[in-house]
């Protein structure tokens, strides 16, 4: 079996989970193996039908434990993997999975490669690619263990709806958690999540203050259905919260379009957005390194371009 963990909270299935299931289905089809999906926590039952749309042959569902616990979640996944002889176990690269997948790897004594951007099969065994050294190199990684595990960089693997047997197997994860979530605070409900966004509107030191993030860039993002990102310089200046930071010490994003306003394009920033499909950069310095990677580079004052762009989009959107 190919097993995929589906990250959901309160009945909201993450887009990255659907991407991982889609990729699991592609591998399962190539290897003529069934695809199993495991989903845990309160709200889990509510996403079973959605999971079936992506080709699951079996959905292992447990509404326990009620709160996220790294050790209990890993126990649940490891148990299903063992009982069903899983050969490959995939996870979406969400904050939750990156946190507990290593514990599953220790339980299964299986190799885990995080943040992969491509898969391949060699003699029926999984081979993966992963960017390393701030995206300055790409490693091809093979496994020495019988079970191969990976977390998938969000927004990289294509979604594909598929048919599957869709059998539902209920189970439960019991026991005392060693660690567990005692409080969850959602601050940005309704906002587009950075790692899942199709378009990111990002600002750097060139934006010159918090107001521009809150007003113009947010307005632009709203018009485009985009998420707002930032460089570390903007975050360090206190203009926007760290949760918006893109780069080596922030989030790794792979949107379809990354729009960089007043960002120079330092290597640590590129590490976080270098796999974006298209990059649009607006910078007044014609020699800014961001232009080396920009699909469309605009040498201009952002304070003039952004308002014009907002007007133009309003026109287009009617």
């Amino acid at each position: 079996m190919i097993l995929v963990f589906a990250d959901q909270r309160n009945g909201n299935l993450k887009k990255a989970s659907k991407e991982a299931i889609s990729e699991g289905k592609r591998l399962a089809t190539s290897l003529s193996l069934p695809l199993g999906v495991v989903v845990l926590g309160s709200g889990a039952k509510g996403v079973v039908d959605e999971i079936k749309n992506y080709g699951a042959d079996k959905v292992f569902v447990s509404e326990t434990p009620d709160a996220y616990s790294p050790d209990l979640y890993s126990e649940g996944v490891a148990k299903i993997a063992k009982e069903n002889g899983a050969k490959i176990v995939l996870f979406p690269g969400t904050s939750m999975c990156v946190d507990f997948a290593p514990r599953v790897s220790a339980k299964l004594e299986a190799g885990l490669v995080t943040d992969i951007t491509a898969t391949d099969l060699k003699d029926g065994k999984l081979v993966v690619k992963k960017p390393v050294y701030s995206g300055k190199a790409i490693a091809t990684v093979e496994y020495k263990s019988d079970i191969a595990m990976a977390t998938l960089r969000p927004n990289v693997f294509e979604l594909a709806e598929n048919a599957g047997a869709g059998e539902v197997v209920e189970f439960s994860v019991d026991g005392e958690p060693k660690a567990k979530a005692i409080k969850v605070e959602m601050k940005e409900a309704g906002k587009v999540e950075l790692t899942e966004a199709t378009i990111i509107v990002s600002g750097g030191r060139g934006v010159k203050g918090p107001e521009y993030f809150q007003n113009e860039l947010q307005q632009l993002a709203d018009l485009l259905g985009a998420a707002v990102g930032a460089s570390r310089a903007a975050v360090d200046a206190g203009w926007i919260d760290h949760s918006h930071q893109v780069g080596q010490t922030g989030k790794v994003v792979s949107p379809k379009v990354y729009m960089a306003f007043g960002i120079s394009g330092a290597i640590q920033h590129l590490a976080g957005m270098g796999t974006s499909q298209y990059i649009i950069a607006v910078n007044k310095d014609p020699d800014a390194p961001i232009f080396n990677v920009a699909s469309l580079g605009v040498v201009a004052d952002l304070f003039k371009v952004v308002p014009a762009l907002i007007e133009e989009l309003k026109k287009v959107k009617g």
Binding site: A106, L112, A294
Partner: protein
């Protein structure tokens, strides 16, 4: 409180990466080696915790001879003792075989609280702290940005998509440090002088009761079979026009090229 902090020496993120002749590793000549940036947050939190609650901080690394420099940096920042897992057999380790060796250090010294970085930059596994936690059977708080210690209960905040969650666990426990947890101090001259006299113990696989088959490349579950430069990104069109024209060009691009409008 017995505190242990685990650090990794990594190439400076500014380093130019050159792929070695074997096609699967990097050329080490000319690399400026640093303590992985996240590990600095781990060291700071360990030292701060000791200053508040008393006790001792032991800093641990597994790595070649050069990694001793990373240990000296940590000692200069206020750690009390260092342990260096240094042996040819440790080379070629992946996250799994690294954790296997570090877990033995934990079992040997039984610390109450252990700090890791969230990720060793370069290979960016983001795994070793959680792996050790599972191997030694303790709870962990991952990518922690705020930590509270209340007797033998610890609570840590972490960022999740669109918000934050608080994880609670009991000592002994592992915390992996994320940027935001604190502001790491710079080692001052006095710290650097003192660091020279602090004890540094070397350990081999045998000292940890591990065979050579369990560590380094032999004990690894994953192997890099090749390393390539990423496909060069083609710089596209570059324009220098009036703002209104630029705005139109961007909209055209979003519509016709990226097809997102």
């Amino acid at each position: 409180m017995n505190i242990m902090v685990f650090i990794k020496q990594v190439p400076d993120t500014e380093t130019k990466i050159k792929i070695a002749d074997d096609g699967k590793s990097i050329v080490e000549d000319g690399i400026n080696w640093i303590v992985s940036p996240y590990d600095e947050f781990a060291i700071e939190e360990a030292v701060k915790t000791k200053e508040n609650l008393g006790g001792e901080v032991v800093v641990v690394t597994m790595g070649p001879k050069r990694a001793e420099q990373a240990l000296r940096t940590a000692l200069a920042m206020g750690c009390d003792k260092a342990i260096h897992l240094e042996d040819a057999a440790f080379e070629g380790a992946d996250a799994y075989s690294t954790a296997k060796a570090l877990a033995k250090v934990v079992e040997k010294y039984n610390p109450d609280l252990m700090f890791f970085g969230k990720q060793g930059v370069g290979n960016d596994n983001t795994q070793v702290g959680q792996l050790v936690a599972e191997m030694v059977g303790v709870g962990h708080i991952g990518t922690c940005i705020k930590l509270e210690i209340d007797g033998d209960t610890i609570r840590g905040e972490r960022e999740i998509e669109g918000g934050r969650e608080t994880i609670e666990t009991k000592l002994p426990a592992i915390v992996t440090a994320q940027r935001g947890l604190n502001e790491p101090r710079y080692p001052n001259l006095r710290g650097i002088m003192k660091a020279k006299k602090k004890p540094l113990e070397k350990l081999t696989p045998a000292d940890l009761g591990l065979s050579e088959d369990e560590v380094g490349l032999n004990g690894a579950k994953t192997v890099y079979v090749s390393l390539e430069l990423p496909p060069a990104r083609q710089a596209g069109k570059k324009i220098e026009v009036e703002p209104e024209v630029a705005a139109k060009e961007i909209v055209e691009f979003l519509k016709n090229e990226a097809k997102v409008l």
